[in-house]
C-alpha cells in the first residue's frame, strides 16, 4: 500500500520534471526540473531494490552531470526571453512522426512481452541482486567492457579539454 503510494507519487514527480525540462523557458529552470526527475528516478531504483544503481544515479547525475550543466549555463550567462518554439509545420510534423514511431516500437515491445510472465512485486518477493553478486558479475564476465569504459572516459576528458580550448 505504502509502496504503491510512493511509486505513483515518484512517477508523477518524474513526469512533471521531465515535462518541465522541455517546457521551461529558462535553461536554469530546465536543469532544476531535470534534477527533480533524476532524484525521483533514484527513488524508483530504490523501490526496485537496486540500491547501488540509485546511489550511482545520485552521485553521477546529480553530483556530476547536472553540476556540469549548471556551470556551463553560468559560464555562458544565458538569458532567454520566453519560450521560443519553432513555428515551422515541418518541425511539428517530424516531432509527431517520431513520437508515433516511439509508440509503435513500444507497442511491438509490449506485444512481444505479453507471453512472458513476470511474477512478484519488486522488493517483496525474492531478494534483489546484492552488491556482492553485482561486483562479481562486473569484474568477471564484464571486465573487458569495464576497462574499455575507463579508456572511453579518459578519451572523453581529453577531447573535452581540447574542444573547449581557445
Amino acid at each position: 500500500m505504502i509502496e504503491q503510494a510512493v511509486f505513483w507519487i515518484l512517477g508523477a514527480i518524474m513526469v512533471a520534471g521531465a515535462l518541465g525540462v522541455i517546457l521551461m523557458p529558462n535553461t536554469i529552470n530546465s536543469v532544476m526540473s531535470l534534477l527533480l526527475s533524476m532524484l525521483s528516478l533514484a527513488g524508483f531504483y530504490i523501490l526496485m531494490g537496486a540500491h547501488v544503481v540509485a546511489l550511482f544515479q545520485i552521485i553521477v547525475y546529480v553530483g556530476a552531470v547536472l553540476v556540469l550543466f549548471l556551470y556551463v549555463i553560468m559560464l555562458l550567462n544565458l538569458k532567454e526571453k520566453g519560450l521560443k518554439l519553432p513555428m515551422e509545420a515541418s518541425t511539428w510534423a517530424i516531432g509527431g512522426m517520431s513520437l508515433g514511431l516511439v509508440f509503435v516500437v513500444a507497442w511491438l515491445f509490449w506485444q512481444s512481452l505479453r507471453e512472458t510472465v513476470f511474477t512478484g512485486d519488486a522488493g517483496t518477493t525474492d531478494a534483489p541482486a546484492t552488491i556482492h553478486q553485482l561486483a562479481i558479475d562486473l569484474f568477471s564476465q564484464h571486465l573487458l567492457i569495464f576497462e574499455l569504459t575507463s579508456v572511453l572516459l579518459l578519451v572523453a576528458v581529453i577531447g573535452a579539454i581540447i574542444i573547449s580550448k581557445k
Binding site: 511509486f7 512517477g11 513526469v15 521531465a18 525540462v21 522541455i22 535553461t27 530546465s30 536543469v31 531535470l34 526527475s37 533524476m38 528516478l41 524508483f44 531504483y45 526496485m48 537496486a50 547501488v52 544503481v53 550511482f56 547525475y61 556530476a64 552531470v65 556540469l68 550543466f69 556551463v72 549555463i73 555562458l76 544565458l78 532567454e80 521560443k84 518554439l85 519553432p86 518541425t91 511539428w92 517530424i94 516531432g95 513520437l99 509490449w110 513476470f118 512478484g120 512485486d121 519488486a122 541482486a129 553478486q133 553485482l134 558479475d137 562486473l138 569495464f146 569504459t149 575507463s150 572511453l152 572516459l153 578519451v155 572523453a156 577531447g159 573535452a160 574542444i163 573547449s164 581557445k166
Partner: protein, 99 residues
C-alpha cells in the same frame, strides 16, 4: 508494483525526451533531452534486471552512466565552442552547412 508499471514510465520518459529534442531550439536543452532518453533506458534496464532476477541489467546501467557522462562532457565542450563562434545557442540560427 509490477514490471509493466516501470516499463510504462520508461516509455513515457523516452517520449518526452524525443519531443523535447525535436521542438526546442536551445542546444543545452537538447543535451538535457538526450539525458532524459538515456535515463529512461536505464530505468527499463533496471526493471528487467529486477524481474528477470539477473545482475546484467544493473551492470549495463553502470556502463550507460559512464557513456552519458562522457557524452555530456564532450557535448558541453562543443556547446561552449559553438557559443564562442556564433554568440548564440539557438540551433535555428546556426546554419554554416546551409550554403
Amino acid at each position: 508494483m509490477g514490471f509493466y508499471h516501470y516499463l510504462s514510465f520508461g516509455i513515457i520518459l523516452f517520449s518526452i525526451g524525443v519531443v523535447g529534442f525535436i521542438i526546442r531550439n536551445n542546444t543545452v536543452v537538447l543535451l538535457m533531452s538526450v539525458e532524459l532518453m538515456l535515463n529512461s533506458v536505464n530505468l527499463i534496464f533496471v526493471a528487467f534486471s529486477r524481474y528477470l532476477h539477473g545482475t546484467e541489467g544493473q551492470v549495463y546501467v553502470f556502463i550507460t552512466m559512464a557513456i552519458a557522462a562522457a557524452e555530456v562532457a564532450v557535448g558541453l565542450a562543443i556547446v561552449i565552442s559553438i557559443y564562442r563562434l556564433f554568440g548564440t545557442l539557438d540551433i535555428s540560427k546556426i546554419k554554416l552547412l546551409k550554403g
